[in-house]
């Protein structure tokens, strides 16, 4: 019945600017919503494999995507994020929308050859993003 509805609307002189599909778009969740993405790299690509012995592959992951307007429950965002959204939309578009950033990380163990030839096993905090949020 989509055609009939749109024909009816045309007859009733709905302003051409108001296009239903456009209108609904603002409520649909963004196609490229804020979420975690993989980025697998090997230290040989960076030419660091002469001193980083392990791991061979490292996936630090990253956050990318748009922050939906209703960010509250899904991203654990503080109320401030909603406020920033409203400011951007209603008051001043130079204030940026909330950004999609990592919220949680996991550590990484590395085995390296030190300049003096000694070998070090070290565990570093916050080396792999595990969860995204909108801030």
């Amino acid at each position: 019945g989509w055609e009939t509805v749109s024909l009816a609307l045309n007859k009733t002189l709905v302003p051409t600017s108001l296009n239903l599909s456009e209108y609904f778009k603002q409520f649909v969740f963004p196609q490229h919503e804020c979420e975690l993405h993989d980025f697998r790299l090997s230290f040989s690509q960076l030419k660091w494999d002469n001193w980083i012995v392990a791991p061979h592959r490292y996936n630090p992951r990253y956050c990318k995507g748009e922050c939906p307007r209703a960010v509250g429950y899904r991203y654990g965002s503080p109320v401030h994020t909603m406020v920033q959204n409203i400011i951007h939309e209603k008051l001043d578009s130079s204030v940026p929308r909330p950004s999609c950033v990592p919220a949680k990380y996991s550590p990484l163990s590395v085995l390296t050859i030190e300049p003096d030839g000694s070998i070090a096993y070290k565990e570093y905090e916050d080396m792999i993003a595990t969860q995204c949020t909108c801030r």
Binding site: N50, N59, L108, V110, G117, S118, I119, A120, K122, Y124
Partner: protein
């Protein structure tokens, strides 16, 4: 507080060793500034070189550390929860100078005493020593019929250049060390934490020691039980292994997250009913799961 403590210690370390803050890119990093893995990363990002030329490590030592890595971390580099959460750094040093002093004695199984010099420049001021061992390996895999009992005599010396310190300053430690050598055993450790702790804590940059290891037949072993004497010449001069806890903010403190992570059972207990199950059923389940586990 963790970060600030780490930073104060790093700052303290900086006065001690005039090392730069690993994060400060405001001035070019030079040789002395590399304090750990991350600052070389920044150095590479900063000056775009693929890292400075490095001395190649001993192949046996590299093989040991690769095995240690596989024990402690997954293939993706995630630390496993089964390792000790108290140290987040393990450093292996190969002696930069070895000199055999007294020849070994095949009959009594005494290993030729060796002079060893370890350069600990890479140990940073924020790394606290938890355990240190001398790591012995055999030049090729040999097997013994049973346990071997050894006595280790360790003499820690002042570095050569401080010759003005009288020899009495040398501290000697005798260890009665018992270890079990099984078939195809390639490594064994001599725990030297006690004598080394004060040296590492005082930021000693090099440790000079002589080690004498004497191994004898297992008690009550008649000579026929040994198809060949404890062949001491197969022992390779030991490496020094330091288990450290890096207290800086960027190091991973697994014990910290263990201590502050509530266990599900605690949560069930707090909900009361959930964790209570009928005695019989619970015990049956317990037995079944333990049998299953066995």
């Amino acid at each position: 507080s963790q970060a600030s403590r780490g930073e104060t210690q790093i700052a303290a370390g900086a006065e001690l060793k005039s090392k730069a803050e690993p994060w400060s890119l405001l001035r070019p990093l030079d040789e002395r500034d590399r304090s750990d893995f991350l600052s070389p990363v920044f150095r590479v990002l900063y000056d775009g070189q693929g890292g400075t030329p490095r001395l190649q490590p001993d192949s046996r030592a590299l093989r040991y550390m690769k095995r240690l890595y596989k024990t402690y971390a997954t293939k993706e580099g995630i630390p496993k929860s089964n390792r000790s959460p108290f140290y987040n750094t393990v450093r292996l040093f190969t002696s930069c100078a070895q000199r055999k002093r007294a020849p070994g004695d095949q009959a009594t199984g005494s290993v030729p005493s060796v002079d060893l010099l370890f350069n600990l420049d890479r140990v940073t001021a924020v790394e606290n020593l938890l355990k240190s061992v001398l790591l012995y390996t055999f030049s090729n895999s040999i097997s013994f019929p049973s346990a071997v009992k050894c006595v280790c005599n360790l003499v820690i010396k002042e570095p050569e250049f401080s010759s003005r310190i009288p020899s009495r300053a040398q501290s000697s430690f005798n260890f009665n060390l018992q270890f079990e050598i099984k078939k195809k055993y390639r490594w064994f450790e001599v725990d030297v934490t006690t004598p080394l702790r004060p040296l590492v804590a005082s930021n000693k940059r090099s440790i000079h020691m002589s080690v004498n290891l004497t191994c004898e037949r297992g008690q009550g072993q008649d000579s026929s039980a040994w198809d060949k004497p404890f062949n001491v010449t197969l022992l390779v001069p030991p490496s020094l292994l330091l288990y450290l806890n890096d207290t800086s903010a960027q190091a991973y403190h697994g014990w910290y997250s263990l201590r502050y992570k509530r266990r599900p059972s605690q949560r069930a207990d707090q909900n009361g009913g959930l964790s209570v199950c009928s005695k019989g059923k619970g015990s049956a389940e317990g037995v079944r799961s333990s049998r299953h586990r066995r």
